[in-house]
Structure formats: C-alpha cells, structure tokens
Amino acid sequence: MTASVASPLVRLAAGEPSAVRECVTAFGAMAWTLALRSSADETDAEEAVREIFDALWQEAGCFDPSWEDARTFVAALARRRLEARARRRGAPATHDQGWFNWRVLCAGRAVQDLEEAR
C-alpha cells in the first residue's frame, strides 16, 4: 500500500471534499469493472457503481491503513454491495460463501459432537 492510494480514503473519512474526486479516480475503474461483471447491462452497472460509491462514502471511516490495503478495502466493500444487490434481485449468492457456510456447519457439528460426548 502506498500513501498516495491510502490517503484519499483516510481524508474522505475526515471529511475532506477533495478526497471524493481522488477516491473516484483511484477506485473508479475497479468499481466499474466489478459492477460490469455482475450486471446485465451498462445501465444496471451504473446503478451498481453508484451503490458502491454510496457505501464508500458511508464506510470510509472503517478503513485502517495500518491494517489493510486501500484497494482491498474498497474491493471488499464493492463485492459486498454487489452481493447484496444480487440478493435483492433473488439471484443466488455467488463467490465463496459455500465453503464458509460448510465450515461453520462443520464447526457446529463438532461442537455438538463434543457436547454429546461429555
């Protein structure tokens, strides 16, 4: 992570107006690309990218440059928004929730087994 990439998010969280443009410049292509991939057409993608940036304006304060890369933060936020958007439309969730749900299920069963064994 470089300071030039991280600083727009930090300054956005601090309420600096110039950071808005910098964030769109820094993360616009990534957000647009992800939006296009999950949308039926460009009109749909435009709505999706707006949701992504709306979320970014809301959640920039959660970004901690000492913890993670700014692009990683924004990409994760974008994917969450796109997933939520897909769910609202009744589309099956994609990505990697399957293995995680499976793991949680396994953990739950392991706990149950332990309790039964006691």
Partner: protein
Amino acid sequence: MTPHEGKERDDEVMLPPALAERMIAIGERQLRARGLVAPPSRRQAWRARSGWLVAAAAVVAWLYVPSPLARRRAAPVTAAVSPVRALLDSLLGDPATVRVPWGASQDPAGTGARGEVIWHAPTQRGVMRFTGLVPNDPQLSQYQLWIIDAARDARYPVDGGVFDVGSGSEVLIPITARLPVAKPSLFAVTLESPGGVVVSSRERLVLAAPVGS
C-alpha cells in the same frame, strides 16, 4: 472476495468520465450535507471528542491491549501477560459479559484444546482463553480470530486479528474486533499465513464457539 483482490488492475475497465463526474458530484453533495462523509472510526472519534484526558486513557489502553497491528508484530502471547488477566477479571465481573466455550474441529492444532471466549458487547472487548492449543511458529503460521456477526453478511466475518500461542498451561488473548460487532453469533479461530489474511481460506478452522449454543 478472492485472495487476488489487489491484482485486478490489468483487466479493469475505465469508469466512463461522465459517470465518474456524477459519482463525484453525488459524493461531494453528500459530504456537504453531512459535514462528514463517513462516521469517524472509533479511534478518530476518540481523538475528536476528547482532550488530554481521553488521550491519556488511550495511552493506557494502548499499553494494556495491543492493537491488531501490534498483535501482528508481537511475540507469542502467553499466560504471563498480566494486563490481559486484568482485562479478563474486569470483564468477568460485568453482568453484560457473555462466556462461550470453544469447540475443537478435526484440525490437529485444536484437537486437545479447551477454553472459552469472554465477550463484552458494550465495550466491544473480550478475551480468548485456551488450554491445549498447539503453539504456532509465527514464521510459518499464525492463528486468526473471526467473529461472525448476525447483523452482518455471514460470508464476511469480522476480523478479530492474528495472534500467536506459546507454550503454557493457559493462554489468554485479548480481542479487539476490527469492526463493531453488533450481534456475535460465532467466534472462530483459523490458522493462517503469517500476518493473517483479509479473507480466510478457512482451510484450517481450528476452533469455533457458537454463541447461544
């Protein structure tokens, strides 16, 4: 999210300039409307609202509870860390504290592990207590805590930070959640690459503590 999140630049499509300008206009309008674009992080809020008193308190907190970054760099935490014990004692005396026993998975690192999670929602603080958890070599792997928040998308658990386990009869690890946790439903410990990960592969889920089970 994939582990290759940061590597998407090669095939990214440029945001159309007109759309970019619209996003900027909307963002700036929201910024002006709210005064702040985003709610300040907890750390920033502390800074903003307080003076020397809170600054002093922050120093004390920093001394007693390592930040996630500090934990990444820290030597293995052992039972001898008395500030964690003090935190544990203070939490156990509070009626708002919940205690959830760990359940081990089939992973060899946690097969003989026992212990519990002590979580205090009002302060978003907690302590993990373990016995029998296999010590890790921080050069090879580190344990990482994940908190599944029922108020959030379950696919994206809250990162509870990485930690190391040394030898010792009982290990206490302070919890400092990466994001606010409204309604924890499951605490899970995975074994990850050194430094932890943003998204776990969960190849090695070691322990889990379902809240309310």
